[in-house]
């Protein structure tokens, strides 16, 4: 599955990867809010096993795009499919989208730019909520305390502990989310996202507010997520070290459109990208 990493670059770019090797395939995705076009006819592929970054200045439409993949926004136009299943498709002139919880069930997990943990629930409970979509017990199982419920709860709790261990939070399983230090909260969000049994993990600025060593830890973690858990990762990031360090491919958005796409090195040297971030003068300086 991680065959993609290290493969020749051309094969990772949007439109160049065969469909059966794509986890996400988005075509012509547009989002209008009233008169404002936030995302303008974006094509975007995420190959299986790749770590792909989405960067761009503030207001470029990155989080809007994230929100459309996860079903939270319905695009104005476009087609998005995930692992062969359609998430967004056109029905006449209108786009129809699956609901967020359906998208999660299909296998997309995410973290948030501003941490959105369930603050007065323990770390363990947060992770257990993540498992909600794949657990099978119903309310009557709960009321009657059926063997199904008891067995399932036990297994789910075991798995939750294991996930917390994996992220170094094993000792804090019963601490309330809001009492955890910032770095732990970030990791807990990832644990919770992993609990949803994703194939694709969307990380929205996972290193925000971190210092250099914390950032390095996070970067290592993201690599481990792919290497050990076989996940595909889509990253929104502002920290260029992270982007350059782990991305197989970088896509740059500006004003809702794809400005450039390529390997980290290519994108960094691209004058239009420099211009978008730093202004025309910086680009001309080379």
């Amino acid at each position: 599955m991680s065959a993609m990493a290290g493969a020749p670059l051309a094969e990772l770019r949007t439109g160049h990867v065969p469909d059966d090797q794509l986890l996400v395939r988005a075509r012509g995705v547009t989002k209008r809010f009233g008169g404002l076009v936030a995302v303008n006819s974006v094509d975007f592929d995420i190959p299986r096993g790749a770590i792909v970054s989405l960067i761009g200045p503030n207001g470029a439409g990155k989080t809007t795009f994230f929100n459309m993949i996860t079903g939270y926004y319905v695009p104005t136009r476009g087609d998005i499919s995930f692992d062969g299943h359609p998430i967004v498709s056109m029905k006449g002139e209108k786009a129809r989208s699956k609901k967020p919880h359906e998208v999660t069930a299909l296998g997309i997990g995410r973290t948030f730019q501003n941490i959105r943990l369930f603050s007065t629930m323990s770390a363990l409970d947060n992770v257990l909520v993540g498992q909600h979509v794949h657990l099978r017990s119903h309310w009557w199982d709960a009321v009657l305390r059926t063997p199904l419920l008891l067995a399932e709860e036990e297994r789910a709790t075991e798995r939750a502990h294991a996930l917390l261990e994996f992220l170094g939070l094993g000792a804090r399983a019963h601490t309330w989310a809001r009492n955890l230090p910032y770095g732990d909260q970030r990791r807990l969000e990832i644990a919770r996202a992993l609990a949803t049994s994703p194939k694709l993990l969307l990380l929205d600025e996972p290193t925000a507010g971190m210092n250099a060593s914390e950032t390095r830890e996070m970067t290592d973690l993201i690599r481990r997520l792919r290497a050990e858990l076989g996940l595909t990762v889509l990253l929104i990031e502002h920290d260029m070290r992270v982007v350059m360090g782990i991305s197989d491919r970088v896509t740059v958005l500006d004003y809702g459109e794809v400005l450039a796409e390529g390997s980290p090195a290519e994108v960094r040297a691209n004058p239009r990208v420099i211009e978008a971030y730093l202004g025309r003068g910086a680009a001309e300086e080379g």
Partner: protein, 310 residues
């Protein structure tokens, strides 16, 4: 046009004006602190009880000479408005301001509590039964006696009175909010209290003034209620409050013109339901309207359209 229909419309419009006055109170307060002031209808009720008490104390009754009556009514209006304004702003100070930064649930519950308190005050003051008040303003039909029309539709001095009190107040309020400095402060605070504060607006004072105005309007409505509908009762606030709040929501909560429009529409709905259906169902119908608006068009008739969410 069917005369019964016309009469129903007349009744609807007049009551609608009273609803509009109370609705303005709801919409002003909601606009500025996003609180549904459950107690507002009960302030109106207490205002009506006060007006009734004052009128009786001053000896205003059916036979009173018109000039004296008018003078005394104006006096009662002034006193009532002052008292309800004070009551309202005190309630704000005591029950809402301390909860300004609490979760939204808290002031709402506090408002419900305040409503209970006020209703009980009314109950203790005037007892459980409806209290009547004689027709001080003549119930004579202007259309037949003054204009000489041959019709069974009645527009009486009472209807005129309702309009004469409410319409100027509505105009003054609209002017106040649109044109004066204080009005601008209110609108700014409604938009964004934090920024308004940073711009030098005394947010606490602005909110207090809003409550003063809302209270005064409720008091005026209370007086009109006594002189037009000739009755008051301790749980009047609940029924009126429901109608007034629905008016505010129908027109677009936070929107002054909407509150007036909503009040008139609600007045008509009430009148038509009372006449053509049965008074027993009117409350249910009004609630039905409220639910319908909130579910299908929560921004109301004159409110802004919001962007679509997934």
């Amino acid at each position: 046009m069917d005369e019964q229909l016309l009469q129903t419309i007349v009744i609807g419009l007049s009551n609608g004006l009273i609803y509009a006055l109370v609705a303005l109170g709801y919409t002003l307060v909601y606009g500025i602190i996003e609180l549904i002031n459950f107690a507002h209808g009960d302030v109106f009720m207490l205002g009506s009880m006060l007006a009734l008490t004052l009128l009786i104390t001053f000896g205003v009754t059916t036979g009173t000479d018109p000039l004296t009556a008018i003078a005394l009514i104006v006096l009662v209006l002034a006193i009532t408005m002052a008292v309800t304004a004070t009551l309202n702003v005190t309630i704000e100070r005591v029950a809402y301001r301390p909860l300004r930064h609490a979760p939204r649930l808290a002031p709402l519950i506090s408002a419900i509590g305040m409503s209970f308190v006020l209703q009980n005050v009314g109950l203790l003051w005037k007892g459980p039964a409806n209290i009547g008040f004689p027709d001080v303003i003549p119930n004579t039909n202007i259309l037949t006696t003054v204009l000489g029309l041959d019709t069974s539709v009645a527009i009486t001095y009472k209807h005129l009175f309702a309009a004469v009190v409410t319409i100027p107040l509505l105009i003054v309020l609209t002017w106040f909010v649109a044109k004066t400095k204080q009005g601008k402060a209110m609108r700014a605070t409604a938009q964004d209290p934090d920024t308004a504060g940073l711009m030098g607006i005394d947010v606490n004072r602005t909110i207090a003034i809003t409550f003063v105005i809302a209270g005064a309007l409720a008091g005026a409505a209370g007086l009109v209620q006594v002189l037009y509908n000739n009755t008051t009762v301790w749980n009047l606030g609940f029924r009126f409050g429901l109608n007034a709040f629905t008016s505010a929501v129908l027109g677009g909560i936070g929107n002054l013109q909407g509150a007036v429009l909503g009040g008139i529409v609600l007045g008509l709905i009430n009148a038509f339901s009372d006449r053509y259906l049965s008074t027993q169902w009117t409350n249910a119908i009004v609630f039905g309207v409220l639910i319908g608006i909130l579910v299908f068009r929560p921004t109301g008739l004159l409110g802004q359209q919001l962007a679509d969410r997934a």
